[in-house]
Each structure stands twice: as C-alpha cells, then as structure tokens.
Amino acid sequence: MNRSDFASLGFGVGLRRPHYGHVLEQHPPMDWFEVISENFMVEGGRALEVLAGARAHYPVVMHGVSLSIGSSDPLNRAYLETLRAATRRFEPAWVSDHLCWTGVGGRNLHDLLPLPYTEETVIHVAGRIRQVQEILERTILIENVSSYMAFRSSRLEEWEFLTAVAEEADCGILLDINNIFVSAFNHRFDPLRYIDAVPADRVMQFHLAGHSDHGSYLLDTHDHPIRAEVWALYEHAVRRFGRVPTLIEWDDNIPDFELLAAAAAEARRRCDLALDSERSDAAR
C-alpha cells in the first residue's frame, strides 16, 4: 500500500439527498464529500447527474455498503464491474467498504454483520480484498463496523482482526470512531485500547457519527449529533494517527447543511487543538 495514494482531503460530510440541490447550486465551502457507492451504481438519471456535478467541484470518495467482503458467497463480479465503471467515470479519491458480511446464498440483508475473529476468517477476507483491489486496480479502505453480537468461535480481539486483515490484504483502514465507541459499549471493551492497537500507517480516513442509546445497547443510527465521548475518542485518535481525512456521517433525521458543515468544522477545530496539545507536550 502506498500512503501517497491517499490525499489529505481535510474535513468532509456525506452527500445525501436533502442537500443535493444546495451543493450543486450553491457550491458551499466543503473540503470533500463521501457518497454511498450503491446509490450511484444505476444506469442513469438524477443520481449520476448529482455525482458528476459534485465531482466537478469537490473531491469525492465512494463508500460502499454491499461489497460483503466477509461473505462465504463468491465475490459478486457484476457488482465489482459496475463499481469499477463508476470509479473510472467519477475518479473518486478512494473507495471504501466495510469489514463485514451483508448477505449469503445470493441474498442481501442490507446490513453490516460482524465476522468471527479467527485466523481462518483473516485469510478468507484478506484474499478477497486482494481480488477486489486487483479488479478495481486500486488500494481500498476497509471500515470497522458497529456490532451487537460477537461469536464464541472468535480467537482474536476485533482490533487484532482488523489489523491482521489490513496487513494480510495490504489495504488501508477507514477507522470509524463512533463504531469503536458503540461496539466497545456493546461488547465491554476499552475503546482506547482499540485505537492504540491499530497500525498508524494504515489509517487513511476517520468516520464520525451519532448513535442512539437503547439502554442495554447502543445502535449505530447516524441520526444524532456526535456525542461528547466520541469527540474525546476522536481527539485521542488524532493524537495517535495525526491529521487524517475526517468525514461526518448523517443518514437519518438529516439536519440542514449548515449544521452538518458545522460538525465538519468542529472536527477540524478539535483536530487542530489535539495536534497543538500534542506538539506542546512534545516540546516540554
């Protein structure tokens, strides 16, 4: 993997339908946008116009939800061909998807399910990531997911599994800080331990988002402001990984664009503060 393949994009937000008109007509200040790949893997119409319009003014990253890299099904070649065509047309800064499975038996759950964290799964998933990278002719990023169940057969911690897959596949990591927080609560592990264990040279992007609290568990809903505890984890991550491109995800109860942009600005402010404090500590 070559770090120079991943630009320092800055602080962006997910491009979602309620903001299409505003973004295309007003070109509001924003470092970059991330789009859900599958929403733009269509034959024509408004979606492709929107992506072309956004791409003409901003860097764009394509973030998938149906690669199903951990499935026991064969890789979906037709899906990958369509994705490759989209990447050739829109030239995203990079492509990412999740370290999970989304379906089996040719059927799709449209959800991100965790894997058993074993050496066998590492080999299975890493081999598939390598195939995907060959087909797409680019290094991809894989993202840690929020999860609500863990398997008795797991022999590795989640961060060990993520690290092993990324090293074995030679791919990058999209580290979702909110997902670490959610899973840490749901499975009772220390989120700082997670962040401290992930290899710094592979983390190419952060995700930040809100979640909902169901009492006995947290659900990754992307429908709330980012919680203070997640911001604190983000600052810790910045001190460890540096100024990594950061993206605010908001997929439900989507606020006005200004509020979304304010969250990206807040990420920038916290990133700067965290790096300043890091430098001050180092100078002492």
Partner: protein, 288 residues
Amino acid sequence: MYLNELQNFLYRRITNPDATNESLGDERGPAPRVLEALVRGDQRLSAAERVEIYANVYFYRLLECLGEDFPATLAVLGEDNFAALVKEYLLEHPPTEPSILYAALYLADFLNDHPFAERWPFIADLARLERAVLDVFHAADAPALGLETLHAVPSEDWPALKLRTHPAVEIVHSEWRIADLLHTVEQGREWTDPEHEEASVLVWRQNALVNYRNLEPEERDALVIVSKGASFAAVCEAIATRSEERNRVTLIGQLMAQWLADGVIMATDSMLVTTMRDALPSGRASGR
C-alpha cells in the same frame, strides 16, 4: 463451524424471526441451543436478543425504504397492513441485489395474488405504477429525439425513420385510474378509490424529473408500437386506424410535437446517423 454454515444460520434467524425453533434448528440441535453455542450472550443481552437487534434492523430498514418508494400503496393500505405486506413479501422475495433500490422489484406482482387485492382491487396496479416511477428515475441516459434533429432529416425520409421509446419511458396499463390516485397522494390530499376505468399511464423522465400522465387510446397504441421499435410510417398507420380521417394529420402532428417536447422518443442510431449525413450539404459531409 464453517463460515458458510454460520452465515446461513444467522440469515435464517434474522430474516424469519417468527419461525418456530424447530424449523430454524438443524442437525446440531434446536435453534436456541445452536444460537447459544454461536453467539456470546451476557447479563445485559442474551444471544437471542443480540440477534434480534439485527432482525429488527433488517425489517425496519426495508419497511422504511419500501414506504418511501411506494407512498401511495402505503397510504391506501395503512401502516399496519403495509408492514404486514412487507413482512410477507420479504419472506417470499428476499432482497438479492446489492442496491436496496431493487428490494421491491416484485412487490406489484406479489400484490396480484394477495388478499389485499380483494379489498383494494387496484392495489397491484398502483404499486406497479410506483415501481415504474422508480425505475424511470434511474433508467439509462440517452439522447432523446428533438425537434432540431428531426428537422435535419429530409421530410421524404421521415416514413422510414426508425423510432423507439427512450429508456426512461414506461407505460403502465390498468383497469383503474391509478395515476389520479397517485397524484392525489403526492399532493397530500385525501384519496378515494380510483375510478374503475381502463387507463394507460405514460411514465417518463425529463430534466431528471419523473412525470406521468394518462394516455388516450390513440396515443397509447402508437407508443406501444414505438416501444417495440417501429418506423414513423408504421406509427402514423397505427394512429390513422384509431382516428377519424379528417383528424389524422392533425393528431399525428400533435402527438409527435408532444413526444418531441417531452423527450419520450429517440431515433435508432444507424438510421438517424445515415439520414443526418445524407441530409447534410455535400461540402459539409466531406468535412471541408
């Protein structure tokens, strides 16, 4: 346990949480015991409760998505009936495509034979129209035949000009005035059962927006012919057989003008290219 077995077991459990434990179990034993052996539970949440979170997310995500794609079907059935419909539909037609856009590809057909179709006999056609709106929204881009292009074709070549409908065009046939009902729901007004009257609805996209309107029989017949690919002469003939002799030319002119303005037809490439080249002055055709 192999990954494939694990994933298939969880898939069955997540997509069919109401199934009996016997039907979900396998040679390893009844489902609860298999589940406990696979998934870690704790004092906060048992293994079954953890899997249930995924079952709920699966169902409610698809319910929300289908509700957004089929607002009129939802309005007619009501929330409870619509949720029951989606539950049954997903068991019969679980999503297979990477994009959630295609999750309800068979909903209209499923409604054909559903008990809801007895109470609301127009419901399958209404769902078919809503599906057509979605399909047209995402259909392939292609240059529509415009007035300027057509003017470049010598009028004596028009009869042989091969036409077809644009990829972002669908015609939905029904025995009910379903377009009126969809329009009422989209406007947020109170709806009533549609009139029981044969209607064909043209669904097309222009400037990235989807439009729909009822077709008169002459236009419907002509567009059905065009949708299969037909010469301009054959289209005129179809209109002529449907209309009175004195109105024919006017009607053909009106329909063509409307189709050109709406961007619903295109000329098949080779014919247009040939005709266009022949229509150009010889000097320009030689590239001077």
